[in-house]
């Protein structure tokens, strides 16, 4: 958000690589034989980028996110997160993870849900209070501190779970189809809010989706993946400006990128099933 200068990336000084994957592969051994969830994935993500992973089910986009998060172990290749192994990065609490479901604890109020990672990481009571107020404000949930999750709509629950991932100082935000279960209008609204949040916090975001408009609207970089075996088929650097009102989705530039994404998806897709 510095100078309106030309186009593309938010901060030109960002050359530090947050994620560096080379020849990454992950094979699940199942009863029906091996499943190649990821094969030969090579990808660099720089600090401050907003990267979307898009592809049909089974293309390994969620698996890749889970490898970054050390929730799955790769079977070949190398990956580093903040220059460390994913496990070290997890131990250093390098990232916040937002799941498909909000996964709020039903017995905790919204503020105590946001407090959960802070309690685990040993933040002091005053610091917890300050961070809860700040992050709930960031996701526009001020005033709902004392509510229980079931008292909130699905969209608000997902915003609370984003607040929970932002509450501690991780520069990397991993989001696995966070808005997949929400309706179109709520989704548009949350996409707008997420972009503003990203600009304000300057975090690196990895975002899994299977919506083309969502991927193009949000990202500075779009990674197109295809299944069986899961692999990267195209990496698109977005040329859209950082300032993105919702109606940017009608511009020719936007449509051109969307067309390229669709083409990439179609190339890797088989219609046999």
């Amino acid at each position: 958000m510095n100078a309106p200068a030309s186009l593309s990336k938010p901060a030109p000084q960002t050359t530090t690589k947050v994620i560096e994957a080379k020849g990454l592969g992950l094979t699940f051994e199942t009863n029906d034989g091996p499943v190649h969830a990821l094969t030969d994935v090579g990808l660099d993500i720089k600090k401050g980028e907003f990267v979307s992973f898009i592809g049909p089910s089974g293309c390994g986009k969620t698996t890749f996110l889970r490898v970054i998060a050390d929730l799955e172990q790769p079977t070949s290749g190398t990956i580093s997160v903040n220059g460390m192994s994913p496990e070290e990065a997890r131990r250093h609490r390098a990232y916040g993870y937002v799941f498909q479901a909000a996964a709020l604890y039903p017995w905790r109020t919204i503020e105590r849900n946001v407090a959960l990672p802070l309690e685990i990481m040993g933040y002091s009571r005053t610091e917890r209070r300050e961070r809860i107020a700040r992050t709930l404000d960031l996701v526009n949930l001020s005033g709902f501190e004392k509510k229980y999750p079931w008292q909130l709509s699905g969209g608000m629950q997902q915003r609370a779970s984003i607040a929970r991932a932002l509450a501690f100082d991780a520069d990397l935000l991993l989001m696995d189809e966070p808005f997949g279960a929400l309706d179109e209008i709520v989704r548009d609204h949350l996409n707008e809010q997420l972009l503003q949040l990203w600009k304000r916090t300057n975090k690196t975001i990895c975002f899994v989706t299977h919506s083309i408009p969502e991927a193009v609207y949000l990202s500075t970089k779009i990674v197109v993946m295809s299944p069986r075996p899961g692999r990267v088929t195209d990496v698109i650097e977005s040329t859209l400006p950082t300032e993105r009102p919702l109606d940017i989705r009608e511009t020719p530039e936007f449509l051109a990128i969307a067309a390229r994404v669709r083409e990439g998806l179609r190339a890797g897709h088989s219609y046999d099933e």
Partner: protein, 308 residues
């Protein structure tokens, strides 16, 4: 009453009669009334043989009214009538000093104390075993079959041996009975709590992993709170089993006191009225214990934001 209740309905608060008929009170009362009617009918039928003998020994001059009244007032009826049991309960609960051996409250307290001690130990043991099973794969494989096998041994077979063996090493009174209660009550708690500790979704466990939470933290912040609804449900089953255990444990001790010994003494001397009042006392005790757990459950789950 109705006249007082009616205006309060008008100003928005539901009257007591409306609430009772919409809730469970009226159905429960109807069932109780039905049981009492059936009970009376059964006692006429079961006590009739003896009553006919009594009349046969007399002058042979009797009416059906006298016959029914007779079946309701025998000294040692096969099935005492409800009011006979009620009178016995009144005499032994209200009519006696609670420290007297003739007081049913005295005996109920002996049984209750063993029940509560055994239940506390059983719940503690159950939770401990569930923690071990959930956190250790070897325990999971080795312990659970034994726990299930333990419950296939008939309690009536093992209880006298426990009492006799413990008495031979000088342990009598409360502890042997409490141990039998423990033996019966730990089982539902283990089964319920293993399920409860495993109830969090994979996504919630993954979340703890992304925070690099220790297994201690995962237990106290996730598994334990998630298991509480299961705990209360298992405790309700466990407390009823505990009471049964304490009563069974009192049977071999004979005169030492407690509802179990009242049952045994009653059956020795054919005091069916005494047996039935001890049975009703045991039922009331068990209902009170379950009610207490239900209240605790409501309070705890309401504080945990339960949606109801």
């Amino acid at each position: 009453m109705i006249a007082i209740a009616a205006p309060s309905t008008a100003i928005g608060r539901t009257g007591i009669w409306t609430r009772m008929s919409h809730g469970t009170t009226v159905p429960v009362l109807i069932v109780v009334a039905a049981i009492i009617v059936i009970w009376y009918a059964a006692s006429v039928w079961l006590n009739s043989a003896w009553q006919f003998q009594v009349f046969a020994r007399g002058d042979g001059d009797w009416t059906w009214g006298e016959f029914v009244a007779g079946t309701f007032s025998q000294d040692r009826p096969l099935l005492p009538a409800p009011h006979q049991v009620a009178v016995e309960l009144w005499n032994t609960v209200v009519g006696q000093n609670v420290t007297s051996r003739r007081s049913l409250v005295y005996h109920a307290w002996i049984t209750l104390s063993a029940t509560l001690l055994g239940f506390a130990m059983g719940t503690g043991l159950g939770i401990l075993l569930a923690v071990l099973i959930v956190h250790n794969r070897a325990m999971d494989r080795s312990l659970l079959p034994w726990i299930i096998a333990s419950q296939t041994i008939p309690i009536l077979a093992i209880a006298p041996m426990v009492v006799v063996v413990l008495a031979s090493i000088g342990m009598t009174g409360l502890v042997p009975k409490a141990l039998i209660s423990t033996y019966l009550s730990f089982f539902p708690v283990v089964v319920g709590m293993v399920k409860g500790f495993r109830s969090p979704d994979q996504i919630q466990l993954d979340l703890m992993r992304t925070y690099n939470a220790s297994s201690n933290q995962t237990f106290w912040k996730l598994r334990f709170p998630a298991s509480l609804p299961y705990l209360f449900t298992s405790m309700k089953v466990g407390v009823a089993a505990s009471l049964v255990g304490a009563i069974v444990g009192e049977l071999p001790t004979g005169a030492a006191g407690g509802l179990g010994s009242r049952l045994l003494a009653g059956s020795y001397y054919g005091q069916t009225v005494q047996i039935w009042s001890a049975l009703l006392m045991a039922a009331a005790l068990s209902a009170m214990l379950i009610l207490a757990i239900t209240v605790a459950q409501r309070v705890v789950l309401a504080r945990m934001g339960a949606n109801a």
